[in-house]
């Protein structure tokens, strides 16, 4: 299993995510899905993507309910205890605690885009023994 950020998740929803070379399904966290859907909804509301997205409402719906053979959204309740533990051990906000907690709980790798790699992320991932890398597109 590999947990991806919102950018990679959107490519997965679109069926355009390159093979990450990891076994198991491509998944994302509720926090990253929220960021993805909010950005889509905001863009749909403001019309900034109307030229590219003929049906913004359908795009939002597809990101809310992604086809499971492309992307699965993890239930944050399953890894809540693990996420809380991460937040106790490290300076981590909800987004980071959830993704690290999910990786520990599901024994998953994490792949994000360079723009979504926080300053402390690599250090925290190393401390938690997580297979973590950023993927340039």
């Amino acid at each position: 299993m590999v947990i991806v950020d919102d950018h990679l998740a959107l490519l997965a929803v679109a069926g355009q995510l390159a093979d990450l070379g990891l076994a198991g399904p491509v998944v994302t966290t509720y926090g990253f899905q929220y960021r993805m859907v909010r950005a889509l909804a905001d863009s749909a509301r403001s019309g900034s993507l109307s030229r590219r997205l003929a049906d913004p409402a359908a795009a939002v719906g597809r990101a809310v309910r992604p086809p499971a053979d492309r992307l699965v959204v993890l239930d944050p309740r399953a890894s809540l205890q693990s996420a809380v533990g991460v937040a106790c051990r490290h300076p981590a906000n909800l987004l980071l605690a959830e993704v690290v907690g999910a990786a520990l709980h599901h024994r998953a790798a994490i792949r994000v885009t360079p723009e979504n790699t926080g300053r402390t992320w690599t250090q925290i991932m190393d401390a938690e023994g997580i297979d973590f890398a950023s993927i340039g597109l």
Binding site: H7, L10, A14, M36, S48, R52, A63, N93
Partner: protein, 84 residues
């Protein structure tokens, strides 16, 4: 009733008597088969029934970087979702 253009593969699963009876009742009512009912339920549950989404997927893929940038902008003021 869904039309399947992709190949189907034989899969064995265990179901309770009530589940089998429910599937058979639905199939009889719809004039379909137990397999067709199961496939339709699975497709709905896993969101695999969005036929004709190719154009949408293409547009989403092209806009992915722009949407990701917007997600970062929107999360700047949200300490729970900001990447710092």
């Amino acid at each position: 009733m869904a039309v399947y253009v992709s190949a189907v593969r034989r899969t064995n699963i265990y179901l309770t008597e009530a589940e089998q009876a429910g599937l058979d009742a639905r199939a009889a009512a719809e004039g379909s088969t137990r397999s067709e009912v199961v496939r339709a339920i699975v497709d709905r549950e896993l969101h695999l029934d969005d036929a004709g989404a190719d154009d949408l997927d293409s547009a989403l893929g092209e806009a992915a970087a722009e949407i990701a940038d917007r997600a970062r902008e929107l999360s700047i003021d949200n300490p729970d979702l900001h990447i710092s």
